[in-house]
Amino acid sequence: MIEVQALAKRFGEVHAVRDVGFLAPDGQVTGLLGPNGAGKTTAMRMISGLLRPDVGSVTIEGVDVHADPFAARRLIGVLPDARGLYPRLTAREHLVYFGRLHSVDPNVMGERIARICNSLDMKGIIDRRVAGFSQGERMKVALARALIHDPPCILLDEPTNGLDVMSTRAVREMVRGLRSEGRCVIFSSHIMQEVAALCDRIVVIVGGRVIQMGSADELMAVTETASLEDAFVACILADQAMAGAA
């Protein structure tokens, strides 16, 4: 379970995140939905502990991310915004590297790589160097790398960005699999269809603030709209109206 409380972060004059707080329970996919520049990535970075919030706190399975960052990092697997790979290493070498940095028991490593390899359908590429990989193959390596230490909580920053249909489907399957294993998954996206299809709970972030929260149905009910898209647009318009009034 991830508990996010009243996060705020400013870069110079820019308030990237003003007030983001929500609860992501185990066995559910929590979607962070927001337009580009809403502050999703900054919020994700504060949750993963890479950025220190000016205000607010994050706990992962009860561990405060900023008080005990190492303990917290062992509990989450993160697919960050920048998911670069080492072009001259093979996929397997990536997994072994991150496994060792997470102190994964060497006796378990081989079996775990085989399992991840299986669930992400990476058998054909596991021993090839990453340099010539397609976007989808790169994404798989980056995802596998985030899961190598078998974390109970998973943070995915726009995982389907730039992927073709087949790869997008593979990622969705993967996320459903993680949920059915009882893990806590946070998933950020600016694509409503994706959030609608995958997420149990949706947190709508606009202008660095959480402005709505709930299941897709609840969001439609609150905004008195018939589709999630309309609900999303209603949220954005309401925020713009508020900003205009202020």
Binding site: L50, R73, A82, G84, Y86, L89, L101, H102
Partner: protein
């Protein structure tokens, strides 16, 4: 901690040995210095001109038969000048042309100073040695004729040389050669900086540019240990490059025609070991400094620019030393790069620097390297650095 540093070092090592650019800079640069040294000394030996039998090209030799036979007596081969000899001197095919005018015999017999022209391009350094030799020979002949004339008048030739200059050179042949050999330490020191440069850039600015830094920093690992692992591999490349440069330089000096220069340039095993001991502590320092600077850079290219500037730092002491000779004092041995320069110069002169100075130099280099690695680790914790350029 060991396993983390080991994991980082293993990955950086794999990345580096599979990177043609990194291998090139580590393995090709070491060839440059020794090859240059070889060419330099061979070229130098040629300008000193000692190989072939000495020869002189003379026009109008028939006007001074005595001079001609005197020169032949000195073992010189005399060639009559071709008609275009002046043109040959002008465009460099001929170094010196001696011209004896038709009025030479008249003046000579009359006891007037008889003129001999030494025609050469005095701006051309490659013919300087031949010109000097021709002048010396003619002066020697002039001196011997003068002595005979004095004797004929009943005067001892010593009358006209009240002072006898004799040069007593206290420098050993090794000291002379040391001046020429200072290029060796310069190349070895440069190799310390160039050998690990690509690795340093790739593992810092490169890591950020390709977007793998964020994922790396999400691991539950102290940033200092990441820096330590990257530093170990960079140092490995840098030290390897320095050792190769040193060994090839020694080989190159062995093959160069140093005896012809009257220079003793062959380094003994002890000297080579000493130089290695003195220079190698510079490798970890150079690597740490490069990692630190490259971590600041927003991109691969920016890092390359900064590291090329950094490359000039170790050359400063050497340049200053050539312009104005410095008298070594103890504090200088605590300044990295400067201390290495001083110690190596000593070693090349055949003097063994005191072990205290060697230790001071090594300790100060290692200490600075430690600070550099620590600072790089600190840097990797800064939000501004992690997300620079975004």
């Amino acid at each position: 901690m060991k396993s983390v540093v080991g994991a980082v070092a293993r990955v950086e090592w794999l990345s580096a040995v599979r990177d043609r650019r990194a291998l090139l800079s580590a393995l090709v640069f070491p060839l440059v210095g020794p090859v240059m040294i070889g060419f330099m000394f061979t070229g130098l030996a040629r300008t000193m001109g000692s190989g072939e039998a000495p020869a002189l090209t003379i026009r109008g030799g028939e006007h001074a038969p005595q001079l001609m036979s005197w020169l032949r007596g000195r073992g010189l081969q005399l060639h009559a000048a071709p008609t275009d000899a002046d043109a040959q001197v002008r465009d460099g095919r001929l170094d010196v042309l001696i011209v004896i005018k038709p009025d030479f015999p008249g003046d000579f017999v009359a006891g007037e100073p008889a003129e001999i022209e030494v025609i050469a391009d005095y701006a051309r350094t490659s013919s300087a040695a031949d010109v000097r030799r021709a002048q010396q020979l003619l002066r020697a002949y002039s001196g011997s004729v003068a002595s005979f004339r004095l004797l004929a008048r009943g005067i001892h030739p010593n009358v006209i040389s009240p002072i006898k200059l004799s040069e007593v050179d206290l420098a050993t042949p090794q000291k002379h050669s040391a001046n020429l050999l200072t290029v060796v330490p310069l190349f070895v020191i440069l190799a310390c900086f160039i050998g690990g440069m690509q690795v340093a850039i790739d593992s810092t600015a490169g890591e950020r540019e390709r977007g793998s830094l964020e994922a790396l920093l999400l691991n539950p690992v102290p940033r200092g240990q990441l820096a330590l692992g990257k530093w170990l591999v960079t140092t490995g490349f840098s030290a390897t490059s320095a050792v190769i440069t040193l060994l090839l330089s020694v080989l190159s000096l062995r093959l160069a025609p140093l005896e012809e220069l009257g220079v003793r340039g062959d380094l003994g095993v002890l000297q080579v070991v000493l130089i290695a001991m003195v220079v190698l502590p510079l490798a970890p320092l150079a690597s740490a400094a490069q990692l630190y600077v490259a971590t600041f850079a927003r991109s691969f290219k920016e890092a390359q620019t900064w590291l090329s500037v950094l490359l000039f730092l170790p050359m400063i002491p050497g340049v200053i030393a050539t312009i104005m000779p410095i008298r070594p004092s103890t504090w200088m041995f605590a300044v990295p790069a400067l201390s290495q320069q001083l110690l190596i110069t000593d070693a090349l002169r055949g003097e063994f620097p005191s072990s205290a100075m060697v230790v001071i130099a090594a300790v100060s280099s290692f200490a600075c390297a430690g600070v550099g690695v620590w600072a790089t680790g600190r840097m990797l914790s800064r939000e501004r650095i992690i997300f620079a350029g975004q």
